[in-house]
Symmetry: C2
Subunit: 116 residues, 2 copies
DNA sequence: AATATATGACGTATTTTTGCGTCAAATTAC
DNA sequence: GTAATTTGACGCAAAAATACGTCATATATT
């Protein structure tokens, strides 16, 4: 893209898009699933679970942290990563309300074949 | 990326990630909102609503069509785009079930501060 | 103190995405 | 028939994402 056009869209759309984007890579979904399953914070050996190098995984962790879906807590030389429950709740609300908006403003709930 | 590593992840994650990715751009969210609001299929003048060129919008439409969230129906020289209700329903189910999986396998519902 | 380990910062190469202009084909209007 | 519209295909350039290696730093371990 020649120019960055992202700021031409309204704030809400940009925020939602950023959230979706963060979830738009299998590695990051895998990280979330893994962290969810571990429950107790593991010391950043997540890379062993994925078919990616440690530095690459680190980058994905950074992305997830950026949108707040995970937290990283330094403990000595190690770092404990875990899911941020509040953000997951917020994610769910955001997504469902967006979809609900789509569904209601289109007539999905009531009408059938109004369209096409 | 030197090599394409995507196929190293399991099918389910890849499908979900692809879906999230399609929603990971404000222009595409804007298109969805617009189509939802229009209800009746408009003849592809969506580009007038967005701060992007026609060809760029066309590309985004292609992306949305690829994941099935919208349908395009040719009518003479024009093309009518509209939201695919079934896919939106499916999207909602997919998202909520993924999030639910995260929430239950981590102990978000019951425990507090088990983690971090 | 010397060594080993864990981590993030940095740089780099490759691929993908984004954005747009141009063009050709098809259709509609005149 | 001729001109105008609408659209998708194609190609191209800039930007971002992806993947990884190397390095420096900080903390354990010996």
């Amino acid at each position: 893209m020649a120019i960055n056009k992202l700021e031409l869209f309204e704030e809400g759309l940009r925020r939602n898009a950023a959230l979706f984007k963060a979830l738009g890579h299998p590695a990051r979904l895998a990280v979330l699933k893994y962290l969810a399953g571990i429950k107790t914070c593991i010391c950043g050996d997540i890379s062993n679970e994925l078919p990616l190098s440690r530095t690459t995984v680190n980058q994905h962790l950074k992305e997830l942290k950026k949108v707040g879906l995970i937290k990283g807590e330094v403990e000595g030389v190690k770092t404990n990563y875990c899911i941020n429950p509040e953000k997951v709740e917020w994610l769910e609300k955001t997504l469902t309300s967006f979809i609900e908006e789509i569904k209601t403003s289109s007539g999905i709930i009531k009408t059938e074949d109004d369209c096409c």
